[in-house]
Protein backbone atom coordinates (compact mmCIF):
# COMPACT_ATOMS: atom_id res chain seq x y z
CA UNK A 1 0.00 0.00 0.00
CA UNK A 2 2.92 2.29 0.81
CA UNK A 3 4.27 1.68 -2.71
CA UNK A 4 0.90 2.56 -4.24
CA UNK A 5 0.79 5.92 -2.41
CA UNK A 6 4.43 6.56 -3.34
CA UNK A 7 3.51 5.99 -7.00
CA UNK A 8 0.50 8.31 -6.81
CA UNK A 9 2.54 11.01 -5.05
CA UNK A 10 5.41 10.72 -7.52
CA UNK A 11 3.18 10.77 -10.60
CA UNK A 12 1.08 13.64 -9.21
CA UNK A 13 4.27 15.61 -8.55
CA UNK A 14 5.42 14.95 -12.12
CA UNK A 15 2.04 15.93 -13.55
CA UNK A 16 2.06 19.20 -11.60
CA UNK A 17 5.59 19.86 -12.90
CA UNK A 18 4.32 19.18 -16.44
CA UNK A 19 1.42 21.62 -15.95
CA UNK A 20 3.75 24.25 -14.55
CA UNK A 21 5.81 24.11 -17.74
CA UNK A 22 2.95 26.02 -19.35
CA UNK A 23 1.53 28.02 -16.45
CA UNK A 24 -0.69 30.29 -18.52
CA UNK A 25 -2.30 27.25 -20.16
CA UNK A 26 -2.84 25.72 -16.72
CA UNK A 27 -4.51 28.78 -15.22
CA UNK A 28 -6.60 29.42 -18.32
CA UNK A 29 -7.78 25.81 -18.35
CA UNK A 30 -8.75 25.98 -14.68
CA UNK A 31 -10.71 29.22 -15.26
CA UNK A 32 -12.48 27.76 -18.30
CA UNK A 33 -13.32 24.56 -16.43
CA UNK A 34 -14.79 26.53 -13.52
CA UNK A 35 -16.76 28.73 -15.91
CA UNK A 36 -18.02 25.70 -17.86
CA UNK A 37 -19.12 23.90 -14.72
CA UNK A 38 -21.03 26.94 -13.48
CA UNK A 39 -23.05 27.18 -16.70
CA UNK A 40 -25.86 24.77 -15.69
CA UNK A 41 -26.25 26.35 -12.20
CA UNK A 42 -26.46 29.76 -13.91
CA UNK A 43 -29.31 28.48 -16.10
CA UNK A 44 -31.00 27.04 -13.00
CA UNK A 45 -30.69 30.45 -11.35
CA UNK A 46 -32.20 32.18 -14.40
CA UNK A 47 -35.06 29.65 -14.49
CA UNK A 48 -35.92 30.34 -10.84
CA UNK A 49 -35.49 34.13 -11.27
CA UNK A 50 -38.02 34.01 -14.11
CA UNK A 51 -40.57 32.51 -11.72
CA UNK A 52 -40.38 28.91 -12.96
CA UNK A 53 -39.04 26.06 -10.78
CA UNK A 54 -38.54 22.32 -10.43
CA UNK A 55 -41.76 21.29 -8.65
CA UNK A 56 -41.15 20.68 -4.93
CA UNK A 57 -37.58 21.99 -5.00
CA UNK A 58 -36.42 25.43 -3.92
CA UNK A 59 -33.59 27.21 -5.74
CA UNK A 60 -31.02 26.32 -3.06
CA UNK A 61 -32.13 22.69 -2.99
CA UNK A 62 -31.79 22.41 -6.77
CA UNK A 63 -28.39 24.13 -6.63
CA UNK A 64 -27.32 21.70 -3.89
CA UNK A 65 -27.73 18.81 -6.36
CA UNK A 66 -25.58 20.63 -8.88
CA UNK A 67 -23.05 21.52 -6.17
CA UNK A 68 -22.74 17.85 -5.17
CA UNK A 69 -22.36 16.99 -8.86
CA UNK A 70 -19.52 19.52 -9.11
CA UNK A 71 -17.82 18.23 -5.95
CA UNK A 72 -18.02 14.62 -7.18
CA UNK A 73 -16.58 15.62 -10.57
CA UNK A 74 -13.92 17.69 -8.78
CA UNK A 75 -12.61 14.54 -7.15
CA UNK A 76 -13.39 11.91 -9.78
CA UNK A 77 -12.17 13.81 -12.84
CA UNK A 78 -8.59 14.51 -11.72
CA UNK A 79 -8.23 11.00 -10.28
CA UNK A 80 -10.24 8.63 -12.51
CA UNK A 81 -11.61 10.34 -15.56
CA UNK A 82 -8.24 11.22 -17.08
CA UNK A 83 -7.88 7.53 -17.93
CA UNK A 84 -10.46 8.00 -20.68
CA UNK A 85 -8.30 10.62 -22.39
CA UNK A 86 -5.09 8.66 -21.88
CA UNK A 87 -6.65 5.45 -23.24
CA UNK A 88 -7.98 7.42 -26.20
CA UNK A 89 -4.56 8.76 -27.19
CA UNK A 90 -2.31 5.89 -26.09
CA UNK A 91 -4.31 3.14 -27.80
CA UNK A 92 -4.54 5.16 -31.01
CA UNK A 93 -0.78 5.80 -31.04
CA UNK A 94 0.09 2.26 -29.94
CA UNK A 95 1.94 3.62 -26.89
CA UNK A 96 -0.38 1.89 -24.43
CA UNK A 97 2.29 -0.84 -24.62
CA UNK A 98 4.53 1.35 -22.47
CA UNK A 99 2.03 1.19 -19.59
CA UNK A 100 1.88 -2.58 -19.86
CA UNK A 101 5.66 -2.70 -19.46
CA UNK A 102 5.40 -1.28 -15.94
CA UNK A 103 5.30 -3.67 -12.97
CA UNK A 104 1.95 -2.51 -11.63
CA UNK A 105 -1.62 -3.57 -12.47
CA UNK A 106 -2.58 -2.27 -15.91
CA UNK A 107 -5.66 -0.49 -14.54
CA UNK A 108 -3.64 1.28 -11.86
CA UNK A 109 -1.06 2.37 -14.44
CA UNK A 110 -3.80 3.68 -16.74
CA UNK A 111 -5.29 5.62 -13.86
CA UNK A 112 -1.87 7.00 -12.89
CA UNK A 113 -1.21 8.03 -16.45
CA UNK A 114 -4.52 9.86 -16.54
CA UNK A 115 -4.06 11.81 -13.30
CA UNK A 116 -4.91 15.39 -14.16
CA UNK A 117 -4.27 18.12 -11.54
CA UNK A 118 -5.90 20.67 -13.84
CA UNK A 119 -9.28 19.06 -13.14
CA UNK A 120 -9.02 19.83 -9.43
CA UNK A 121 -10.35 23.24 -10.52
CA UNK A 122 -13.77 21.60 -10.69
CA UNK A 123 -13.53 21.05 -6.95
CA UNK A 124 -13.39 24.82 -6.56
CA UNK A 125 -16.55 25.49 -8.58
CA UNK A 126 -18.34 22.53 -6.96
CA UNK A 127 -17.26 23.68 -3.49
CA UNK A 128 -18.41 27.27 -4.05
CA UNK A 129 -21.76 26.13 -5.39
CA UNK A 130 -22.21 23.56 -2.59
CA UNK A 131 -21.45 26.22 0.05
CA UNK A 132 -23.76 28.75 -1.59
CA UNK A 133 -26.61 26.21 -1.78
CA UNK A 134 -26.16 25.16 1.87
CA UNK A 135 -26.14 28.82 3.00
CA UNK A 136 -29.76 29.12 1.94
CA UNK A 137 -30.93 25.91 3.61
CA UNK A 138 -31.50 24.78 7.21
CA UNK A 139 -28.34 23.14 8.62
CA UNK A 140 -28.36 19.38 7.84
CA UNK A 141 -28.57 16.97 10.79
CA UNK A 142 -25.59 14.82 11.86
CA UNK A 143 -27.26 11.66 10.50
CA UNK A 144 -27.81 13.46 7.22
CA UNK A 145 -24.10 14.19 6.96
CA UNK A 146 -23.21 10.56 7.73
CA UNK A 147 -25.67 9.30 5.12
CA UNK A 148 -24.36 11.91 2.66
CA UNK A 149 -20.74 10.81 3.21
CA UNK A 150 -21.60 7.19 2.39
CA UNK A 151 -23.63 8.15 -0.67
CA UNK A 152 -20.94 10.56 -1.83
CA UNK A 153 -18.53 7.61 -1.92
CA UNK A 154 -21.18 5.76 -3.96
CA UNK A 155 -21.27 8.80 -6.27
CA UNK A 156 -17.50 8.58 -6.78
CA UNK A 157 -17.85 4.85 -7.43
CA UNK A 158 -20.41 5.55 -10.18
CA UNK A 159 -18.14 8.15 -11.82
CA UNK A 160 -15.21 5.74 -11.58
CA UNK A 161 -17.35 3.03 -13.21
CA UNK A 162 -18.26 5.42 -16.03
CA UNK A 163 -14.55 6.14 -16.55
CA UNK A 164 -13.83 2.41 -16.73
CA UNK A 165 -16.66 1.74 -19.17
CA UNK A 166 -15.65 4.56 -21.50
CA UNK A 167 -11.94 3.75 -21.24
CA UNK A 168 -12.65 0.06 -21.90
CA UNK A 169 -14.77 0.96 -24.91
CA UNK A 170 -11.77 2.75 -26.41
CA UNK A 171 -9.76 -0.48 -26.69
CA UNK A 172 -12.20 -1.49 -29.43
CA UNK A 173 -13.58 1.86 -30.52
CA UNK A 174 -10.10 3.20 -31.17
CA UNK A 175 -9.71 6.97 -31.31
CA UNK A 176 -13.35 7.92 -30.81
CA UNK A 177 -13.58 11.12 -28.81
CA UNK A 178 -17.39 10.78 -28.95
CA UNK A 179 -17.17 8.92 -25.64
CA UNK A 180 -17.11 12.33 -23.92
CA UNK A 181 -20.41 13.23 -25.57
CA UNK A 182 -21.88 9.93 -24.39
CA UNK A 183 -20.79 10.73 -20.83
CA UNK A 184 -22.13 14.29 -20.90
CA UNK A 185 -25.47 13.20 -22.40
CA UNK A 186 -26.05 10.34 -19.97
CA UNK A 187 -24.91 12.11 -16.80
CA UNK A 188 -26.75 15.36 -17.54
CA UNK A 189 -29.92 13.64 -16.26
CA UNK A 190 -28.27 13.46 -12.85
CA UNK A 191 -27.92 17.23 -12.49
CA UNK A 192 -31.60 17.82 -11.79
CA UNK A 193 -34.02 16.62 -9.08
CA UNK A 194 -34.93 13.02 -9.86
CA UNK A 195 -38.57 13.68 -8.96
CA UNK A 196 -39.09 15.68 -12.17
CA UNK A 197 -38.83 12.40 -14.12
CA UNK A 198 -41.35 9.54 -14.33
CA UNK A 199 -41.13 6.96 -11.53
CA UNK A 200 -39.85 4.22 -13.88
CA UNK A 201 -37.15 6.55 -15.22
CA UNK A 202 -36.12 7.39 -11.62
CA UNK A 203 -35.70 3.65 -10.96
CA UNK A 204 -33.62 3.33 -14.13
CA UNK A 205 -31.47 6.30 -13.04
CA UNK A 206 -30.87 4.79 -9.62
CA UNK A 207 -30.47 1.07 -10.17
CA UNK A 208 -29.59 0.43 -13.84
CA UNK A 209 -27.56 3.36 -15.15
CA UNK A 210 -27.14 4.99 -11.74
CA UNK A 211 -26.57 8.61 -12.78
CA UNK A 212 -29.01 9.66 -10.07
CA UNK A 213 -26.52 8.45 -7.46
CA UNK A 214 -23.93 10.97 -8.66
CA UNK A 215 -25.73 13.95 -7.10
CA UNK A 216 -29.48 13.63 -6.61
CA UNK A 217 -29.40 10.77 -4.05
CA UNK A 218 -26.54 12.19 -1.88
CA UNK A 219 -28.11 15.67 -1.95
CA UNK A 220 -31.48 14.19 -0.94
CA UNK A 221 -29.77 12.54 2.06
CA UNK A 222 -28.31 15.88 3.13
CA UNK A 223 -31.74 17.49 2.83
CA UNK A 224 -33.26 14.75 5.00
CA UNK A 225 -35.41 13.58 2.09
CA UNK A 226 -33.89 10.09 1.78
CA UNK A 227 -34.52 7.08 3.97
CA UNK A 228 -32.79 3.72 4.31
CA UNK A 229 -33.88 2.79 0.79
CA UNK A 230 -30.70 4.59 -0.25
CA UNK A 231 -28.81 1.45 0.83
CA UNK A 232 -30.12 -0.06 -2.42
CA UNK A 233 -28.57 2.86 -4.32
CA UNK A 234 -25.25 2.20 -2.58
CA UNK A 235 -25.42 -1.46 -3.60
CA UNK A 236 -26.27 -0.44 -7.19
CA UNK A 237 -23.20 1.84 -7.25
CA UNK A 238 -20.97 -0.97 -5.95
CA UNK A 239 -22.31 -3.38 -8.59
CA UNK A 240 -21.87 -0.76 -11.30
CA UNK A 241 -18.24 -0.29 -10.25
CA UNK A 242 -17.59 -4.04 -10.23
CA UNK A 243 -19.16 -4.29 -13.70
CA UNK A 244 -16.88 -1.45 -14.85
CA UNK A 245 -13.74 -3.17 -13.55
CA UNK A 246 -14.67 -6.53 -15.11
CA UNK A 247 -15.59 -4.86 -18.42
CA UNK A 248 -12.33 -2.86 -18.54
CA UNK A 249 -10.19 -5.95 -18.02
CA UNK A 250 -12.17 -7.93 -20.58
CA UNK A 251 -11.69 -5.15 -23.15
CA UNK A 252 -7.97 -4.92 -22.33
CA UNK A 253 -7.58 -8.55 -23.42
CA UNK A 254 -8.71 -7.45 -26.86
CA UNK A 255 -6.00 -4.77 -27.07
CA UNK A 256 -4.06 -5.39 -30.27
CA UNK A 257 -1.44 -2.63 -30.04
CA UNK A 258 -0.40 -0.81 -33.21
CA UNK A 259 1.87 -1.88 -36.03
CA UNK A 260 5.58 -1.60 -35.32
Amino acid sequence: MKGVFACIASVLRTKVAEQMAYRSHFFLSVILLVAGDLLVPMITLLVYRSGASFPGWSLHEALLIQGVFGLAKGIAFPIFFGMVGSTLSLVREGTFDLLLLKPRPALFMTMLNGLDPEDFGRLLSGGVLFGYALSGLPAPKFNGWIQFAGLFLASLAVLCAFSLLLSGLLFRWVGSSRVYDIFDSVTSFGMYPGTIYAKSFQQLMTYVIPVGIIAFVPASALLGRAGWETAGAGAAAALFLIAGIVYWHRMLRGYTSAGG
Partner: protein, 326 residues
Protein backbone atom coordinates in the same frame (compact mmCIF):
# COMPACT_ATOMS: atom_id res chain seq x y z
CA UNK B 1 16.58 -17.57 -20.31
CA UNK B 2 13.91 -17.44 -23.05
CA UNK B 3 12.21 -20.53 -24.45
CA UNK B 4 9.70 -19.95 -27.20
CA UNK B 5 7.71 -22.95 -28.33
CA UNK B 6 5.22 -23.07 -31.24
CA UNK B 7 4.22 -19.45 -30.75
CA UNK B 8 1.36 -18.31 -32.98
CA UNK B 9 -0.56 -15.06 -33.16
CA UNK B 10 -3.62 -14.63 -35.32
CA UNK B 11 -5.85 -11.59 -35.33
CA UNK B 12 -8.84 -10.34 -37.25
CA UNK B 13 -8.76 -7.11 -39.19
CA UNK B 14 -11.29 -5.22 -41.26
CA UNK B 15 -10.81 -5.19 -44.99
CA UNK B 16 -11.30 -1.60 -45.97
CA UNK B 17 -11.69 -0.36 -49.49
CA UNK B 18 -10.33 2.92 -50.78
CA UNK B 19 -12.88 3.94 -53.39
CA UNK B 20 -15.92 6.02 -52.38
CA UNK B 21 -18.20 3.10 -53.21
CA UNK B 22 -16.19 0.68 -51.07
CA UNK B 23 -16.06 3.16 -48.19
CA UNK B 24 -19.85 3.62 -48.37
CA UNK B 25 -20.33 -0.17 -48.45
CA UNK B 26 -18.07 -0.46 -45.39
CA UNK B 27 -20.50 1.69 -43.41
CA UNK B 28 -23.03 -1.14 -43.70
CA UNK B 29 -20.85 -4.24 -43.80
CA UNK B 30 -17.18 -4.58 -43.06
CA UNK B 31 -15.69 -7.89 -44.18
CA UNK B 32 -13.23 -9.37 -41.71
CA UNK B 33 -9.96 -10.96 -42.65
CA UNK B 34 -7.81 -13.29 -40.57
CA UNK B 35 -4.12 -12.34 -40.40
CA UNK B 36 -1.55 -14.83 -39.20
CA UNK B 37 1.14 -12.51 -37.90
CA UNK B 38 3.30 -15.19 -36.28
CA UNK B 39 3.21 -18.83 -37.40
CA UNK B 40 4.35 -21.53 -35.02
CA UNK B 41 7.81 -20.20 -34.22
CA UNK B 42 10.24 -21.77 -31.71
CA UNK B 43 13.65 -20.63 -30.47
CA UNK B 44 15.67 -20.20 -27.30
CA UNK B 45 17.90 -17.41 -26.03
CA UNK B 46 20.60 -18.01 -23.41
CA UNK B 47 21.51 -15.63 -20.61
CA UNK B 48 24.05 -12.98 -21.67
CA UNK B 49 23.36 -13.39 -25.39
CA UNK B 50 22.95 -10.44 -27.74
CA UNK B 51 20.47 -11.52 -30.38
CA UNK B 52 19.36 -9.47 -33.39
CA UNK B 53 15.77 -10.17 -34.32
CA UNK B 54 15.38 -9.05 -37.91
CA UNK B 55 12.82 -9.04 -40.65
CA UNK B 56 11.24 -6.79 -43.25
CA UNK B 57 8.34 -4.50 -42.32
CA UNK B 58 5.24 -6.53 -41.51
CA UNK B 59 7.19 -9.77 -41.05
CA UNK B 60 5.88 -10.37 -37.53
CA UNK B 61 8.90 -9.34 -35.47
CA UNK B 62 7.13 -6.57 -33.51
CA UNK B 63 4.21 -8.91 -32.75
CA UNK B 64 6.68 -11.53 -31.52
CA UNK B 65 8.49 -8.99 -29.33
CA UNK B 66 5.16 -7.76 -27.91
CA UNK B 67 4.34 -11.33 -26.91
CA UNK B 68 7.83 -11.76 -25.43
CA UNK B 69 7.37 -8.61 -23.35
CA UNK B 70 3.92 -9.68 -22.14
CA UNK B 71 2.08 -6.88 -23.93
CA UNK B 72 0.12 -9.22 -26.22
CA UNK B 73 -1.44 -12.61 -25.55
CA UNK B 74 -0.57 -15.25 -28.16
CA UNK B 75 -3.23 -17.27 -29.96
CA UNK B 76 -1.33 -20.45 -29.09
CA UNK B 77 2.11 -21.61 -28.03
CA UNK B 78 4.30 -21.14 -24.98
CA UNK B 79 6.92 -18.66 -23.84
CA UNK B 80 9.00 -19.11 -20.70
CA UNK B 81 11.24 -16.13 -20.04
CA UNK B 82 13.16 -15.68 -16.78
CA UNK B 83 11.15 -18.67 -15.58
CA UNK B 84 7.84 -16.87 -16.10
CA UNK B 85 5.06 -16.69 -18.69
CA UNK B 86 5.17 -13.02 -19.76
CA UNK B 87 1.45 -12.36 -20.33
CA UNK B 88 0.30 -14.43 -17.34
CA UNK B 89 2.79 -13.12 -14.77
CA UNK B 90 3.16 -9.72 -16.39
CA UNK B 91 3.84 -7.56 -13.32
CA UNK B 92 6.46 -9.92 -11.90
CA UNK B 93 8.05 -10.37 -15.33
CA UNK B 94 8.26 -6.74 -16.46
CA UNK B 95 9.92 -5.82 -13.16
CA UNK B 96 12.92 -7.83 -14.43
CA UNK B 97 13.00 -6.64 -18.02
CA UNK B 98 13.67 -3.32 -19.72
CA UNK B 99 12.69 -1.92 -23.10
CA UNK B 100 13.92 0.91 -25.27
CA UNK B 101 11.92 2.01 -28.28
CA UNK B 102 13.61 4.31 -30.75
CA UNK B 103 10.24 5.62 -31.88
CA UNK B 104 8.26 5.61 -28.62
CA UNK B 105 9.52 7.75 -25.79
CA UNK B 106 9.12 6.87 -22.13
CA UNK B 107 10.31 10.33 -21.12
CA UNK B 108 7.94 13.24 -20.52
CA UNK B 109 8.25 15.97 -23.10
CA UNK B 110 7.93 19.08 -20.94
CA UNK B 111 9.92 18.12 -17.88
CA UNK B 112 13.53 17.06 -17.33
CA UNK B 113 14.38 13.35 -17.70
CA UNK B 114 15.45 13.22 -14.06
CA UNK B 115 11.80 13.77 -13.03
CA UNK B 116 10.72 10.87 -15.23
CA UNK B 117 13.49 8.73 -13.70
CA UNK B 118 12.18 9.55 -10.25
CA UNK B 119 8.68 8.57 -11.30
CA UNK B 120 9.99 5.23 -12.58
CA UNK B 121 11.80 4.72 -9.28
CA UNK B 122 8.45 4.89 -7.47
CA UNK B 123 6.68 2.67 -10.00
CA UNK B 124 9.41 0.00 -9.85
CA UNK B 125 9.82 0.43 -6.10
CA UNK B 126 13.60 0.92 -6.36
CA UNK B 127 15.11 1.71 -2.93
CA UNK B 128 16.50 5.25 -2.63
CA UNK B 129 20.13 4.18 -2.14
CA UNK B 130 20.11 1.69 -5.01
CA UNK B 131 18.45 4.30 -7.25
CA UNK B 132 21.10 6.93 -6.43
CA UNK B 133 23.95 4.48 -7.09
CA UNK B 134 22.51 3.19 -10.39
CA UNK B 135 21.67 6.68 -11.63
CA UNK B 136 25.17 7.87 -10.79
CA UNK B 137 26.76 4.91 -12.62
CA UNK B 138 24.55 5.26 -15.71
CA UNK B 139 24.89 9.03 -16.00
CA UNK B 140 28.67 8.70 -15.79
CA UNK B 141 28.72 5.94 -18.40
CA UNK B 142 26.50 7.88 -20.79
CA UNK B 143 27.85 11.30 -19.86
CA UNK B 144 24.49 12.99 -19.30
CA UNK B 145 25.07 14.66 -15.94
CA UNK B 146 23.83 18.12 -16.94
CA UNK B 147 21.57 17.01 -19.74
CA UNK B 148 19.10 15.16 -17.53
CA UNK B 149 18.11 18.34 -15.72
CA UNK B 150 16.98 20.15 -18.88
CA UNK B 151 13.41 19.77 -20.20
CA UNK B 152 13.27 16.77 -22.54
CA UNK B 153 12.03 18.90 -25.45
CA UNK B 154 15.31 20.87 -25.36
CA UNK B 155 17.51 17.79 -25.74
CA UNK B 156 19.05 16.52 -28.97
CA UNK B 157 17.90 13.13 -30.25
CA UNK B 158 21.17 11.56 -29.11
CA UNK B 159 20.85 13.00 -25.59
CA UNK B 160 17.24 11.90 -25.44
CA UNK B 161 18.11 8.37 -26.47
CA UNK B 162 20.77 8.16 -23.77
CA UNK B 163 18.12 9.21 -21.24
CA UNK B 164 15.74 6.57 -22.65
CA UNK B 165 18.42 3.99 -21.88
CA UNK B 166 18.77 5.25 -18.31
CA UNK B 167 14.99 5.09 -17.91
CA UNK B 168 15.02 1.46 -19.09
CA UNK B 169 18.02 0.38 -16.99
CA UNK B 170 17.36 2.10 -13.64
CA UNK B 171 15.72 -0.95 -12.08
CA UNK B 172 18.56 -3.25 -13.13
CA UNK B 173 16.82 -5.47 -15.73
CA UNK B 174 18.30 -8.86 -16.63
CA UNK B 175 16.76 -8.86 -20.10
CA UNK B 176 16.40 -5.79 -22.33
CA UNK B 177 14.44 -5.42 -25.56
CA UNK B 178 15.74 -2.79 -27.96
CA UNK B 179 13.57 -1.65 -30.84
CA UNK B 180 15.49 0.55 -33.31
CA UNK B 181 17.68 2.03 -30.55
CA UNK B 182 19.87 4.06 -32.91
CA UNK B 183 17.25 5.31 -35.38
CA UNK B 184 17.96 8.87 -36.52
CA UNK B 185 21.18 9.23 -34.52
CA UNK B 186 24.43 10.68 -35.85
CA UNK B 187 27.61 8.59 -36.07
CA UNK B 188 28.98 9.71 -32.69
CA UNK B 189 25.70 9.18 -30.86
CA UNK B 190 25.31 5.74 -32.45
CA UNK B 191 28.80 4.81 -31.30
CA UNK B 192 28.06 5.96 -27.73
CA UNK B 193 24.85 3.97 -27.58
CA UNK B 194 26.46 0.86 -29.06
CA UNK B 195 29.37 1.10 -26.58
CA UNK B 196 26.87 1.36 -23.74
CA UNK B 197 24.95 -1.70 -24.95
CA UNK B 198 28.18 -3.69 -25.27
CA UNK B 199 29.23 -2.61 -21.79
CA UNK B 200 25.91 -3.68 -20.26
CA UNK B 201 26.08 -6.97 -22.17
CA UNK B 202 29.54 -7.64 -20.71
CA UNK B 203 27.96 -7.17 -17.29
CA UNK B 204 25.58 -10.04 -18.06
CA UNK B 205 22.50 -8.26 -19.40
CA UNK B 206 20.79 -10.16 -22.23
CA UNK B 207 19.70 -8.05 -25.20
CA UNK B 208 17.16 -8.74 -27.92
CA UNK B 209 17.67 -6.18 -30.65
CA UNK B 210 15.25 -5.29 -33.42
CA UNK B 211 16.60 -2.95 -36.05
CA UNK B 212 16.77 -2.13 -39.72
CA UNK B 213 20.24 -0.65 -39.22
CA UNK B 214 22.49 -3.53 -40.20
CA UNK B 215 25.54 -1.75 -38.76
CA UNK B 216 23.89 -2.27 -35.36
CA UNK B 217 23.64 -5.96 -36.16
CA UNK B 218 27.24 -6.27 -37.34
CA UNK B 219 28.66 -4.31 -34.43
CA UNK B 220 26.49 -5.70 -31.64
CA UNK B 221 24.91 -9.07 -32.32
CA UNK B 222 26.50 -12.49 -32.13
CA UNK B 223 23.41 -14.26 -33.32
CA UNK B 224 20.72 -13.37 -35.83
CA UNK B 225 17.12 -14.55 -36.02
CA UNK B 226 15.36 -13.56 -39.22
CA UNK B 227 11.59 -13.70 -39.40
CA UNK B 228 9.63 -13.33 -42.62
CA UNK B 229 5.91 -13.84 -43.28
CA UNK B 230 5.55 -14.83 -39.61
CA UNK B 231 8.09 -17.68 -39.83
CA UNK B 232 11.70 -17.97 -38.75
CA UNK B 233 13.78 -18.25 -41.92
CA UNK B 234 17.19 -18.06 -40.29
CA UNK B 235 18.56 -18.57 -36.78
CA UNK B 236 22.35 -18.74 -36.43
CA UNK B 237 25.55 -16.70 -36.08
CA UNK B 238 26.27 -13.63 -38.18
CA UNK B 239 29.16 -15.35 -39.99
CA UNK B 240 26.95 -18.30 -40.86
CA UNK B 241 24.43 -15.83 -42.28
CA UNK B 242 27.07 -14.38 -44.60
CA UNK B 243 28.23 -17.85 -45.64
CA UNK B 244 24.74 -19.19 -46.37
CA UNK B 245 24.58 -17.51 -49.75
CA UNK B 246 27.96 -18.77 -50.90
CA UNK B 247 31.37 -17.11 -51.04
CA UNK B 248 30.52 -13.82 -52.67
CA UNK B 249 32.56 -10.65 -52.94
CA UNK B 250 31.67 -7.12 -53.87
CA UNK B 251 34.20 -5.70 -56.35
CA UNK B 252 34.51 -2.11 -57.53
CA UNK B 253 36.44 -2.01 -60.74
CA UNK B 254 37.94 0.68 -63.02
CA UNK B 255 39.26 -0.52 -66.39
CA UNK B 256 40.98 0.81 -69.55
CA UNK B 257 38.26 -0.54 -71.87
CA UNK B 258 34.46 -0.29 -71.38
CA UNK B 259 32.96 -3.05 -69.27
CA UNK B 260 30.19 -5.26 -70.77
CA UNK B 261 26.52 -4.74 -69.84
CA UNK B 262 25.65 -8.41 -69.64
CA UNK B 263 26.50 -10.66 -66.68
CA UNK B 264 28.64 -13.76 -67.09
CA UNK B 265 28.88 -16.98 -65.04
CA UNK B 266 29.88 -16.02 -61.46
CA UNK B 267 29.78 -12.27 -62.19
CA UNK B 268 26.71 -10.06 -61.65
CA UNK B 269 26.68 -6.38 -62.51
CA UNK B 270 25.38 -4.56 -59.42
CA UNK B 271 25.82 -0.94 -60.51
CA UNK B 272 27.37 0.75 -63.51
CA UNK B 273 29.09 4.00 -62.58
CA UNK B 274 30.73 4.85 -65.96
CA UNK B 275 31.51 2.89 -69.14
CA UNK B 276 34.69 1.61 -67.58
CA UNK B 277 33.73 1.71 -63.89
CA UNK B 278 31.24 -0.62 -62.16
CA UNK B 279 30.35 -2.54 -59.02
CA UNK B 280 30.21 -6.28 -59.51
CA UNK B 281 29.22 -9.25 -57.39
CA UNK B 282 31.58 -12.19 -57.76
CA UNK B 283 30.52 -15.68 -56.70
CA UNK B 284 33.93 -17.16 -55.95
CA UNK B 285 32.47 -20.68 -55.82
CA UNK B 286 31.84 -20.35 -59.58
CA UNK B 287 34.64 -17.98 -60.57
CA UNK B 288 37.63 -17.98 -58.16
CA UNK B 289 38.96 -14.50 -57.47
CA UNK B 290 42.37 -15.09 -59.11
CA UNK B 291 40.65 -16.26 -62.31
CA UNK B 292 38.33 -13.24 -62.27
CA UNK B 293 41.29 -10.83 -61.87
CA UNK B 294 43.33 -12.51 -64.64
CA UNK B 295 40.39 -12.70 -67.03
CA UNK B 296 39.29 -9.06 -66.51
CA UNK B 297 42.85 -7.74 -66.62
CA UNK B 298 43.54 -9.50 -69.93
CA UNK B 299 40.23 -8.43 -71.50
CA UNK B 300 39.62 -4.90 -70.15
CA UNK B 301 42.86 -3.83 -68.40
CA UNK B 302 42.35 -3.25 -64.66
CA UNK B 303 43.35 0.28 -63.58
CA UNK B 304 41.93 0.19 -60.03
CA UNK B 305 40.07 -2.34 -57.94
CA UNK B 306 38.68 -2.82 -54.40
CA UNK B 307 37.42 -6.14 -53.06
CA UNK B 308 35.15 -6.44 -50.02
CA UNK B 309 32.91 -9.09 -48.53
CA UNK B 310 29.35 -8.85 -49.79
CA UNK B 311 27.60 -6.24 -47.62
CA UNK B 312 25.15 -7.76 -45.15
CA UNK B 313 22.40 -5.70 -46.81
CA UNK B 314 22.72 -7.89 -49.90
CA UNK B 315 22.46 -11.05 -47.81
CA UNK B 316 19.42 -9.72 -45.97
CA UNK B 317 17.77 -8.63 -49.21
CA UNK B 318 18.08 -12.12 -50.64
CA UNK B 319 16.80 -13.56 -47.38
CA UNK B 320 13.79 -11.23 -47.25
CA UNK B 321 12.70 -11.90 -50.81
CA UNK B 322 14.02 -15.43 -51.20
CA UNK B 323 12.86 -18.78 -49.86
CA UNK B 324 13.58 -19.96 -46.31
CA UNK B 325 17.21 -20.97 -45.80
CA UNK B 326 16.88 -23.04 -42.65
Amino acid sequence: MIEVSHLTKTYMTHERGHTLREIAANLIRRPMKEVQAVKDISFTVEQGEMVAFLGPNGAGKSTTLKMLTGVLHPTSGEVRALGLTPWKQRSEYVRRIGAVFGQKSQLLWDIPPVDAFYMNKAIYGVPEREYAQTLDRLTTLLDVGDVMRKPTRQLSLGERMKCEFIMAMLHGPELVFLDEPTIGLDVIAKENIRDFIKDMNRQGVTFILTTHDLDDVELLAERVIVINHGEIVFDDGLNVLRGRLGEKKAVRLTTDLPLPDESMPGVTLLKRIHDSEAELEIDTDILPLKHFIRQFNETYGIRDMSIEPLPIEAVMKELYIGSPLS
